[in-house]
Point group: C2
Chain length 310, copies 2
């Protein structure tokens, strides 16, 4: 019998869509410079492994994210893949660049806390929302889907625990602005399952249903997968993850960052939850990418499966 | 506000007893030779951090587990601590040694699969059970509590997925023999939450209630904490974990092994589940032990908290 053994839990959804962030959120936090063609090949391999939503790159000013300064060169190499390829846009200038290249989905990046809004964007939360509004409006008018990222939804390095009401207010503002999907980020990885459930319930009560929500957990304290399980039990069916566990948060000095897609797929496969992802092909992709970066993948599943093969 | 923020989930128990295995299961799988006094100090620091059940050592023949060959020297140094101090005994000879030193709790170690019984004990599962029976009987007659470990409860490196009925049969045999607690081991770390729930339900139906069960998950595929969450939701209240994530399975080549006690306590603290453990003191203990071993702790919480302090 092959592993993991599949045992369904009827309280969990039958299908989950993985929003793969390795090529954007992962690589923007890696120190190694990655050639454009390697990035393109990474996206192609992720698509071939069955991932259906692959965040490809970011149209942030190259001064802020030099790792993704090649967005104009990268995007045309992957845009014809038969998958969803959202790109991050920080403002109208970024949106213009994305539109010029034929992007069909974009994402904006907001903060649930004043401290992080100040550190990341040098604005208050409301000033940042005001900055996004015309970007979101124009994207929708152009027929694009828009995702809104919310960072620091559970804890913040300056403010500590973040009140649920504060996160609800900012999420609601992005939803009302027209973002069709809201990704709740635990940027410093401190959330636990009860907190996850409480935030989701509060958002539902404020009129944002689980069907419009995604969860984005970091593994800094080893909590990402159990928090994901709590979110699935609540009714969320879109989960952000990063192939091979690429990337992390520049504000947390630990080596661990994004939930590894392989660790997630191992759990979902065991639960009989369909994702369309071929774990063997995905693991091979992450091993290949780790070779490009010159360091082993932090994903435990990647390490276990690749040791087994060798 | 301090982190993690505490949010209760009424479907989970209010209190969990952690069965700390670092000093036994952890150190027996470490390559570095650890001086007896360092082991004793480790147990004392674990007790001072609030752990109430600390598996101290093993009375296995020194030829098989040379790392714990100093059991006779170690146990007297810690036996007066005001905590439960179970020790592993493989057979009547081991029990005699433990009784001579005043041990009040012992554990035996069985396999749910024929392949592992053969590899580990060179016996069939039933021959191994027959070997344990007089050990368990004599221990109970001497007034000791007896824990039964079951290894390979979810998957086995030779046999793949392990049928639930097979695990139920062996667990039931150990329970009927008189073991008051049965620890279900996912020795190769392949379990997922639905499988955990199915096994627990089958055991309950066979007459072994959650109150007699403990779970022992390995993090080889990053699944240990989400499986623990599933077990808590089912009603289990005893969880095995290893301070700093010490140890692992010698049959799995990956570097990751036991669930780290700190990663578990972070989740339980966030869920408002009482353990009595002081996470700061426990993390300091694991950092100290990692220094003794000359390698960093694999626990993500230990890494995150110790980076934060430095």
């Amino acid at each position: 019998m092959s592993l993991p053994m599949t045992v369904r839990d009827p309280a969990l959804p039958g299908r989950v869509r993985i929003h793969e962030v390795g090529a954007r959120d992962g690589l923007q936090n890696e120190k190694t410079a990655v050639p454009t063609e390697v990035k393109a090949e990474f996206v192609r391999r992720l698509a071939a492994a069955g991932l259906t939503t692959i965040e490809a790159t970011s149209f942030v000013h190259p001064k802020w994210v030099p790792q993704l300064a090649d967005a104009e060169e990268l995007f045309p190499r992957v845009r014809d893949l038969p998958v969803r390829l959202p790109v991050l846009v920080p403002n109208e200038r970024g949106l213009d660049r994305a539109l010029a290249l034929g992007a069909r989905e974009v994402a904006v990046f907001a903060s649930a806390t004043e401290s992080f809004a100040k550190a990341n964007l040098n604005r208050t939360v409301d000033e940042a929302l005001a900055m996004f509004a015309p970007t979101v409006t124009r994207a929708i008018e152009a027929g694009l889907k828009v995702r809104g990222y919310l960072s620091m939804c559970f804890g913040d390095p300056w403010e500590g625990a973040v009140p649920v009401e504060q996160v609800v207010r900012v999420t609601k503002a992005l939803a009302d602005m027209g973002c069709d999907e809201l990704s709740l980020g635990d940027t410093i990885g401190v959330a636990t399952p009860g907190h996850v459930g409480a935030l989701l319930t509060a958002l539902n009560e404020a009129g944002v249903p689980d069907s419009r929500l995604a969860v984005h957990f970091h593994d800094t304290y080893g909590q990402a997968l159990s928090n994901t399980l709590a979110a699935l039990r609540h009714g969320v069916t879109t989960v952000d993850a990063s192939a091979g566990g690429l990337g992390g948060c520049p504000y947390a000095k630990s080596a661990t960052g994004n939930l590894a897609t392989e660790d997630l797929v191992w759990m979902l496969d065991g639960l009989g939850i369909e994702t369309g992802v071929d774990l063997t092909a995905l693991t091979a992709t992450s091993v290949w990418m780790a070779d490009q970066l010159g360091r082993p993948s932090p994903s435990r599943t990647v390490r276990a499966l690749s040791h087994k093969e060798s």
